[in-house]
C-alpha cells in the first residue's frame, strides 16, 4: 500500500524508518532571453542544479517522448529514486536574491513527456504519434499541457488548438474557444500563449468543458504559420504552487499540515518548475530552494 496510514505512521516511517529525502535545487532563468512580466516560463532549460535540459526539441517530429528522472538529457529535480509506488512531498521552499525576480509564482510539475514540433510553418491539423504513451498518470487524470519553444519562434501570432483524448477516454476533444494565441517571437522557455489580453492563458492550455485531464494528444493545429522555431507540446501533472513576493525572503510550504495536500510523487517523476514572472526578469536570475519527501 502506498502512502501513510496515519500521522503516527508517517512520523515513524520518516524518523525511525529513515524514509525521507531532501533535495536542494538551484535553477536560473534562461541564459539567453530575459523574462517579461506576466508571462509563464519553464525553468527546465534554465541552468543550475540540476542543469538545463537538452532534450526538448529533439527526437522525431510530432512523436511523443516520455520523460522520467532517468531519461538522458532530461534533468528533473532529484527526488530519491524509486520506492515501489510513490512518495509524498512534505515540504517545499524557494527563494531568490536576484534583482527583479520577485514577485513570481512557481509551480512544481511532473513532466510526463513532450511532442517536439519542428513543422511550425504547417497550418491545420498535424497528426501526432502516440506510439509511446505517458509513463505516469496513465489514465490522464489531472494531466495538463503547455507549449514552449526550444528554438525562438518567428514573427507570428497563430491560434493554437489541440485535439486530444481526455482522462475518461473520450476522443476528439478540442481546445475550446477562445483559442490560445501564440506570442510573436516567443522566447525559448516561455509558454507561448501566456501573457496579457484575449487569448492568453496561464500556464496550461484550456480543456473542453468538464474535462479533468489529457491522456494523449492526437492533433496539433496552428491557424497560420509560426514562420520559424521549434515548439514542444509538453504533458505534465501540476503538483503545487509557491509564490515568492520579496527578494531574499524564503517562500515555504509545509504540505503536511495544510489539509489534503502532500502531493504524490510517483516513481520516475521528472520534476521541474514553471514560473509566472511578476516583473521583467534578467537572464540567468538564480532561484534556489529545497524539496523534502517521505514515503512508507
Amino acid at each position: 500500500m502506498g502512502g501513510f496510514s496515519s500521522q503516527d505512521n508517517m512520523i515513524n516511517e520518516v524518523s525511525t524508518g529513515g524514509k525521507f529525502y531532501r533535495s536542494d535545487w538551484q535553477k536560473s532563468t534562461f541564459a539567453t532571453t530575459a523574462q517579461a512580466a506576466g508571462l509563464w516560463y519553464s525553468l527546465f532549460r534554465g541552468g543550475g542544479n540540476p542543469p538545463a535540459d537538452t532534450i526538448l526539441g529533439t527526437g522525431t517530429n510530432l512523436a511523443f517522448q516520455a520523460l522520467t528522472d532517468a531519461t538522458t538529457n532530461a534533468t528533473g529535480i532529484p527526488h530519491g529514486g524509486n520506492v515501489s509506488g510513490f512518495k509524498h512531498l512534505l515540504n517545499a521552499a524557494a527563494q531568490s536574491a536576484a534583482a527583479t525576480t520577485a514577485p513570481c509564482v512557481l509551480m512544481l510539475v511532473d513532466l510526463l513527456g513532450f511532442y517536439p514540433i519542428t513543422t511550425v510553418t504547417t497550418t491545420g491539423d498535424q497528426a501526432l504519434n502516440n506510439s509511446v504513451t505517458i509513463p505516469r498518470y496513465t489514465d490522464g487524470a489531472g494531466v495538463q499541457a503547455f507549449i514552449t519553444p526550444s528554438t525562438v519562434m518567428g514573427a507570428a501570432t497563430p491560434n493554437i488548438r489541440i485535439t486530444y483524448t481526455d482522462s475518461a477516454g473520450n476522443t476528439g476533444n478540442l481546445t475550446p474557444a477562445t483559442l490560445p494565441i501564440g506570442n510573436t517571437a516567443a522566447a525559448v522557455t516561455s509558454i507561448v500563449y501566456s501573457g496579457t489580453g484575449s487569448g492568453k492563458f496561464g500556464p496550461f492550455l484550456p480543456l473542453a468543458a468538464g474535462d479533468a485531464g489529457i491522456r494523449s494528444v492526437q492533433q496539433f493545429n496552428l491557424s497560420v504559420s509560426y514562420v520559424s522555431g521549434v515548439l514542444n507540446l509538453v504533458l505534465c501533472k501540476p503538483l503545487l504552487t509557491l509564490p515568492i513576493t520579496t527578494l531574499g525572503v524564503t517562500a515555504e510550504r509545509d504540505l503536511v499540515n495544510q489539509f489534503m495536500s502532500m502531493p504524490k510523487i510517483y516513481d520516475g517523476a521528472c520534476l521541474a518548475w514553471l514560473m509566472l514572472a511578476g516583473a521583467n526578469t534578467p537572464v540567468g536570475s538564480a532561484l534556489s530552494g529545497h524539496l523534502e519527501f517521505g514515503w512508507s
Binding site: 512580466a37 506576466g38 509563464w40 520577485a102 514577485p103 509564482v105 509551480m107 490522464g140 487524470a141 489531472g142 494531466v143 482522462s167 475550446p176 474557444a177 477562445t178 501566456s194 501573457g195 496579457t196 489580453g197 484575449s198 492568453k200 492563458f201 496561464g202 500556464p203 496550461f204 484550456p206 480543456l207 473542453a208 468543458a209 468538464g210 474535462d211 479533468a212 485531464g213 501540476p238 504552487t241 509564490p243 513576493t245 520579496t246 525572503v249 495544510q258 489539509f259 489534503m260 504524490k264 509566472l276 511578476g278 516583473a279
Partner: protein, 292 residues
C-alpha cells in the same frame, strides 16, 4: 449527488484531475484613490479588460464563454458536477497597492450606459433575463463609472427583489467625485449617511437580493457622465496586507469550509478597495477550482 459529501471526496476529485489552476495579473492604468472601491474588470491584464459594452439601458448578460473574466474552467453541471472555489492567492510588489481588500464576484450582467444627465425616470429593458442566480438572495447592484462625472448628485433605483416582489426602491445614493473608468460610483470615504455607501447600492429595508432593475432616477441637477449598473454575486474576499507576503486562502480550511460555488459559465472578476493609486501596480494571483 453533485458536490462533496466529505473530505475524501475532495481529495479524490483532485486526484481524478477535477482541479484547475489559473493565473491572473491585473495592472490598472487608472489613477485610483484611497478608500474608493474600484472595478478591476475594467483594467488591463489577464484576463482582458471588460468595458461594459451593450445597448444603453438594456440588460446584457456576462458569461465566461463570451466575455472571458477569470478563467475557472468549463461548464460541469451537465456532467452531474458542481464547481467550487478551492483557493485564491494574490500579491502585489507595489507598496502603494497594499493593503488592498479584494472581492471575487460573479458578474451576472449589466445595464449599460446609464446617462447621468437625464433627470426623468430611465426605464431599463429586461427582455433578456439573467442566467445565473435568478432567484437567489445575495445578488447586489453595483454602479460602475464608464464615462467620468463631476460627482455629488443623488440617484436611486427601483428593482425586483430576490423574492420576486417588484417596485422596490433602493436607498438614495450619491455619485463619487473620482471619475476614472472603473470607479464604483457610490464609493467615497465619507459617511454612509452622506450617501456614499460603498461598493453596492443599499436595498430597501428587508431585501436580501435583486433579480432585476426596472428603473434609475437621477436627482439633483444631474451630471455629465455615464455608468453601468451591474448585477453581481459576491463570492469570496481576501486582503493583501503588504508587499512582503502573498495572501493565500484555502476556502476549505481557512474560511469555515465555505467553498463558494462557481456556477456554469460564470464571469468572474474582482473589485478592490485600494489605499492609494493602483496605476501601474500589478496584482498577481492564482485561482484554483475543483468540481465533483
Amino acid at each position: 449527488m453533485a458536490g462533496f459529501k466529505n473530505a475524501r471526496a475532495i481529495a479524490d476529485a483532485a486526484d481524478a484531475g477535477r482541479y484547475l489552476y489559473r493565473s491572473f495579473r491585473k495592472q490598472p492604468t487608472q489613477t485610483t484613490a484611497s478608500g474608493i472601491w474600484f472595478d478591476l474588470s475594467m483594467s488591463p491584464g489577464n484576463p482582458a479588460p471588460n468595458y461594459y459594452i451593450g445597448t444603453p439601458g438594456v440588460f446584457t448578460p456576462l458569461k465566461r464563454s463570451t466575455d472571458g473574466g477569470l478563467d475557472h474552467g468549463g461548464n460541469v453541471n451537465a456532467l452531474g458536477y458542481k464547481k467550487y472555489l478551492r483557493k485564491l492567492m494574490a500579491m502585489t510588489p507595489t507598496a502603494a497597492a497594499a493593503p488592498q481588500t479584494m472581492i471575487l464576484m460573479d458578474y451576472i450582467g449589466f445595464y449599460g450606459f446609464i446617462d447621468e444627465s437625464v433627470l426623468d425616470v430611465q426605464m431599463l429593458d429586461n427582455t433578456v433575463a439573467p442566467t445565473r442566480y435568478t432567484t437567489d438572495a445575495g445578488v447586489q447592484v453595483m454602479a460602475v463609472v464608464v464615462a467620468g462625472q463631476t460627482g455629488g448628485q443623488p440617484f436611486s433605483i427601483t428593482y425586483t427583489n430576490s423574492a420576486g416582489v417588484p417596485g422596490r426602491v433602493s436607498q438614495t445614493v450619491r455619485m463619487t467625485t473620482q471619475f476614472v473608468n472603473g470607479t464604483i460610483l457610490t464609493s467615497l470615504p465619507a459617511s454612509a449617511s452622506a450617501g456614499y455607501w460603498g461598493p453596492f447600492i443599499p436595498l430597501q429595508s428587508g431585501d436580501t437580493g435583486v433579480r432585476s432593475v426596472e428603473s434609475v432616477t437621477i436627482g439633483g441637477i444631474g451630471d455629465v457622465g455615464l455608468f453601468a449598473l451591474v448585477l453581481v454575486k459576491p463570492l469570496a474576499t481576501l486582503d493583501i496586507r503588504g508587499i512582503d507576503a502573498p495572501t493565500e486562502i484555502d476556502y476549505l480550511t481557512d474560511c469555515g469550509i465555505s467553498l463558494p460555488e462557481i456556477m456554469d459559465d460564470a464571469y468572474l472578476n474582482f473589485i478592490t478597495l485600494p489605499v492609494g493609486t493602483l496605476s501601474g501596480a500589478p496584482t498577481h494571483g492564482i485561482i484554483e477550482t475543483t468540481w465533483n
